[in-house]
Amino acid sequence: MMCRKIKKRTDRVLIACLLVFLLFLTGCWSRRDLTEISIVAGIGLDRTEDGKIILTVQVVEPAAVQSTASGKGGSAQQKPVFAESYEGETVYDAVRGILSVVDKKMFFGSAQVLIIGERLAQDGIEEVLDYFIRDHDFDYEIYILVAKDTTPMEIFEMETDIDAIPSVYIYGTVDNTESRGTVKKTMLIDLIKEMSGNEKQFAIGSITKAGEMRVKTEGVAVFRDGKLAGWMDRYETRGYLFAMDKIKNAIINVPAGNGKIAMEIMRSKGKISVEFNNGELSALIVNVKVYANVGEYKGKGRLETPDSLYELEKALGEEIRKEITMAVEKTQKEYCSDIFGFGSYVRKYHPRYWKKAKRDWLAIFSELPVIVNVDAKAERVGIVMSPIE
């Protein structure tokens, strides 16, 4: 009796041991130490003249970053980052090919920005983005930018004194659009959504070089059918972002008398819709409601009366309306790209109409009149009401 009990117990222990040993058979697969990978900070994609893909990566040298941060080290210091590129038939080909010049395997999960070259953008970006969407290694919150008048390689080879890692610096400039609203913050995940839901009409923030050590992220690149159609400047971009309800905070200059009043947008609500007339689409509508504070009054004038504030509100609304109209009309007339997503709005709310208009939607879209309604409210004028005289 006792014997059998003991035997049963040893059996159990044996089985447990065997199960534990099973774990060791896996051999720690997919384990990679942090020191065995190249930490990629930025990825660049461009196309050569003969149609190959150029992959550029900006790789961080952690130890060098640390020593820059702590301020030690002499003149013969290692650079905190290096950029390397490789040409391949496909993106994946280039990703593996680049290992012939860099020793450690690339880790893309840490990449901050993905910069697309102008030439590649003109040829269409959907096919190259497929790799980034398909592969599990990528952070879907990576910022995407299109390089204007420059190449990704140039940007990544640029040395900046603002941050040891240029990609982080670029990331920061895109991120702070929350307080200026002049560049579209495009994450990979948002881009995927826009590409699939918006009939391949979308806009991506743009980046340009500004001198030897600086970049500038302002404006957007407008895409039609996945191909670069043109650019919008910062005011048009802001109009676009107002309509898309993406403005968090921005400064609008409102002419007032002989000077200008800088209004700080505190909250903004943007909505697009369309208008039907006798079963036919008659207009595109953009409704925006903003709340703003007086941030600065450059010039002479008085702000004490409700009337003056009312005037200010009207002027502010007019300014914003101008920007939005500019943006919509540019996409309609010049680029013929529905980046605002009026098409998907129609598809969602007027599916019957969409069915017949679907085929030549862009033609219909570019002909429609635009109605922009801006309801602006001035909330606070600050500590002083009128400028000091």
Binding site: L23, C28, R31, L34, A41, P62, A63, V65, I165, V168
Partner: protein, 531 residues
Amino acid sequence: MVRRVKKPARIKTETRIPAHKYISSDSNLPVPSTVDEVKTRLSEIFSCCSDFIQREISCGKNRLIKIVVAYLNGFVDKRILNQDVIRPILDFLSNAAMNESMSISEQLKECVVVNNDIKEACNMQQAVDGIVSGEALIFIDGEETALVIGVKAPQGRPVKEPDTEISIRGAREGFVENLLTNTTLIRKRIKNPNLKLEMMQLGKQTKTDVCICYIKGIANEEIIGEVRRRLKKIDIDSVLDVGIIEQYISDSKFSLFPTVGNSEKCDKLAGKLLEGRIAIFCDGTPQVLTLPYLFIESIQNTDDYYDHAIFATVIRFLRLTALLLSTLLPGIYVALVSYHHAVIPFRLMITLAASRQGIPFSPFIEAILMIIAFELMREAGVRMPKPIGQSLSIVGAIVLGEASVAAGIASNLMVIIVSITAICSFVVPPLIRVIMLLRFTVLLAANLMGFLGIIILIVVVFAHLCRMRSFGVPYMAPFSPLTSADLKDSFVVVPIWAMVTRPGILRQEKAEGAKGTKRQEVMLNSDVQKD
């Protein structure tokens, strides 16, 4: 250690009987009737016992009555023996006022001996047991029984603050080795005849006094019965420490988690008793066992109840964090740097990578090396004589610090992690050893499978914890089963004036194999403390 080793049955029958019975043939025989016989018997039994003293006194009117006094030297208080026992006897016997109808020993017992603690020994076994436990034996020629008189001299160190359990507020008194002192300390705090102390002896060779202590009416009778049953089943030669009893009566003998608690602090024990727990005192051990012992008790401390409830609650959460950190932190670190680079924030990733640059070992090996170094130091620190402590701490600071980083053996961050782990493990003293072993397992799991491994391990450990019982009470109570009334003293401590009911879980559970009962019963059974 003189514990009986389990041997195959055949040999057991041959060796066991003479091993623990010092008088194999006549243990149950009555005490011989003449002084000479008694003396020879005792000399035989206590041969080669240099501390054994027996003295024959002739007294009475014509020096006709012979009495024998036998005791162990140093064990009894000779002054009390002489003043309160022998002198009255001699005075009494030399006077003629003897009652003929009663035996001398009965008369002595009734009206002569001053000492209160007096028993009659009917056979040799009882007589010898009395002598070895520090009592004096008095035998009067011609009587059938001998008298055993308790004149034990107080021994052991004075009551001091225990070194193992430090608290900021509350009583400084700690238990000592002497059982009677300990029970007195408890009596001092709970002045109530319902405080029951059931004495028994364990250990065939050592005959150690063991005492079950509980408050009748508060403690669960079924659990008390179960404790008695388990104690009676203990069949060993020696009980040198209460820890031996603990191992015998624990529910899950193979589990690493303690199911029996212990304490050296009087006020803590009193609190446990008042909650309905049962204590086991063991002579010669300053630690007192408390049971049932639940998981939540490992993060409870007496200070929690003496201070503002908010502080106590915050500190409970700190302890819980410490518990989790010290088990999981090295594992999480290894999983992060070996597998899950994507979840590390970018800046931290660079810092981590920079600190790991040039380390020849994998993070796992690095962690194991550092933790083993720390555990060695801890163990050495515990065992080592105090004067050498300083040199150890200097060496330790060098090994577990800048030197190992400078030598390129460990990264800066690993040193920080091991230090945090070490500090955290001291926050929850009852679980230090469990945490240590778990930490290694977590590390291994993290190295094999990353977070997946850690999560599998956590699930297994929690399943084990939830399955465990301490004397029939679910180990993870009040969380599993969820007893909302008992949550008042778990991670959250409610103010003491709001803590009006005793832990219900201790009352209503059946002692063995009981299933969790319905919540209504818990409410019914948890009686009000302030009655």
